[in-house]
Symmetry: C2
DNA sequence: ATTGAAATCCAAAACGTTTTGGAGTACCCT
DNA sequence: AGGGTACTCCAAAACGTTTTGGATTTCAAT
């Protein structure tokens, strides 16, 4: 039989109220009674029914997060983020409710289920879109959330990495290494960080008096495969670029494959750079030059901020822009010898 | 204001019961009434309160999983598993409740919170221990679960990979490549798969008339760092081994570092092999010879089996032993030339 | 006209908790 | 004796849903 407050109350000869208040640590129950109740609760292995508690108190101590349901394998960016968020959530006494959904309508209905269904106290939103319906929804219902990524349009709590600055540094780095034909494999336009990063790329070119060439900018969709396809197109141009920057590491790794497949060597014949610094960037051959986003640590900070928002504490700064860190590895070649 | 069944009932001029039954699709409500109710529900954006539903119906459509709360970074094995489980859970209409906990008492109390607290319909247990208190608990309360890993002691539903066979194949492979001094970096004894894998190692040695040498077996704790330490000890022996097998990939990668640090080359001077085939195994330098556990796919199958158990369907086989697949890469060297 | 069955609806209970608004006692101070 | 305070305790309501066990109406068949 399942043991409830009622079981304990009968065993102890007190009311349900008293048991509840004894276990919750209220001051209005005799110390001796409390000890007896606690002893009985432990002996019977009492576990509060959380559904009942949530129903009554409206607090779930759960954080929600929806991740993309990809066809076959796992996205290292999201897995790293889940790890960071899950760890820090536990640290604060929260569990993490995960739902993997196809992007679009299905995803939004998962948000509604979690939020309006009262299953979570707050949400983490990752990979923000340009006009993000998820953020619009959360704002509309005044539900606590923090996003990894920013949009200017409606201001909201976020943590983000300065992608423009990161891209600028990449361009500067490649120019220093002697490159003048620098291509870009772009992320989908609807992603909020795309404009940011592409802006940094353009600003970099301008700063070093390099022309912006239409044919050097190709659209990818963040997957390794799309990076490979894009790089193949670039390398087949009459005047192929000597360096390729991808908007994320996965596409950069795909581009490396394309370079290999052409019989060229990454870092010597073609320089490659990515963005994110996923674990694989370190161990790839050659290791990938990239811009570091401390994803795991950002997961921590997202939760820290969200926990304070959920508890309606004063948060000094709900819009955090982190400075990126250029990580130079072998894929961008060797410094020019002078 | 929050919209509940009551709101809709008032708007439609019917009872709460009727609204509930209309939305649930019961046959005892007039088709016209049903349509009106559904129209109102959609117009008001009704979302059922899941806590209330769970409290009453005892079904949560949630699967629980506890992962280790490691100090700093994410364990690729668990992240891969979470990805597979999360994806397939969504496919079945389930969400995934994750809790990151330190192993031991804290972990067990997370199990109790989820199970006895009525938050989940079933659990996935990963990295099974020799006499696993989590499994003992789940069996005691008759709660549905499936484990990744097996213990003989109490029989339970599981999916596992035949570690003994995998290890045997690794040894055979290394012997074929000319090795006679094959060391083992062992996983912690309390893990269920340790006995399995070590047994395969011994059986392999015996089959090829190689001696089992105490000093060639060193204890690790599954982390990269422990693999490195173990390999350093092995390489410092008077007669160091020519090949090292680690019980998981992470330790094998650590061992590679130790080999590098000694100025030796992995694959030429010392052969290294691991177990798991995590994503990094492919991209490491040199790529790691290992035994493949299709972790993502196992996540799928765990959920498939669990869903059937939770719905009390007949399950033909609740104990699945998968045959492993030897994946030969450069870290074990080149075939002998004859 | 009566009966029976089918179709449609609903009041009330139940799930297990927290919270509200006191009630009862004991004791001390005037 | 009366009034105040501190300390313990509790009945009942509330959270929003599902389910139980009818009640009512309609209509066709006798």
């Amino acid at each position: 039989m399942h043991v409830t407050l009622k079981t304990i109350a009968e065993e102890a000869g007190v009311s349900i109220t008293t048991v509840s208040r004894a276990l919750a640590g209220y001051g209005d129950v005799n110390e001796q009674t409390r000890r007896r109740i606690i002893e009985i609760a432990e002996r019977l292995g009492y576990q509060p029914n959380l559904a009942a508690r949530h129903l009554r108190s409206k607090r779930t101590y759960t954080i929600g997060m929806v991740i993309p349901r990809t066809a076959h394998y796992s996205d290292p960016f999201f897995m790293e983020l889940v790890a960071g968020v899950g760890k820090q959530a536990s640290e604060h006494g929260y569990d993490l409710l995960l739902s993997a959904q196809m992007q679009g309508e299905e995803e939004l209905s998962a948000y509604r289920r979690m939020v309006a269904g009262g299953r979570v106290d707050g949400m983490i939103v990752a990979r923000v879109l340009w006009q993000d319906p998820r953020i619009a929804y959360l704002r509309q219902v005044y539900h606590p959330f923090v996003a990894f990524g920013r949009t200017e349009d409606p201001a909201h709590p976020y943590i983000d990495v300065d992608g423009a600055e990161g891209m600028y540094q990449l361009v500067a780095h490649l120019v220093e290494y002697g490159h003048e034909r620098i291509a870009l494999i772009q992320s989908p336009r609807e992603l909020a960080f795309t404009a940011d990063r592409c802006g940094g790329y353009r600003r970099g070119l301008e700063a070093f008096d390099l022309p912006y060439r239409e044919e050097y900018v190709i659209q990818g969709n963040l997957t390794r495969h799309s990076g490979r396809l894009a790089a193949e197109k670039l390398l087949a141009l009459p005047t192929p670029p000597s360096a390729i920057i991808a908007c994320n590491d996965l596409m950069a790794l795909g581009a490396s494959e394309a370079v290999h497949a052409r019989g060229l060597r990454v870092g010597r014949d073609v320089a490659i750079a990515g963005f994110d610094d996923i674990p694989e960037a370190t161990t790839a051959t050659p290791p990938l030059t990239t811009v570091r986003q401390p994803i795991y640590g950002i997961g921590h900070r997202l939760v820290d901020m969200l926990v304070r928002l959920m508890q309606h504490e004063e948060v000094d700064n709900t819009q955090v822009l982190l400075q990126p860190e250029l990580v130079i590895r072998a894929s961008s070649g060797t410094p020019p010898t002078r």
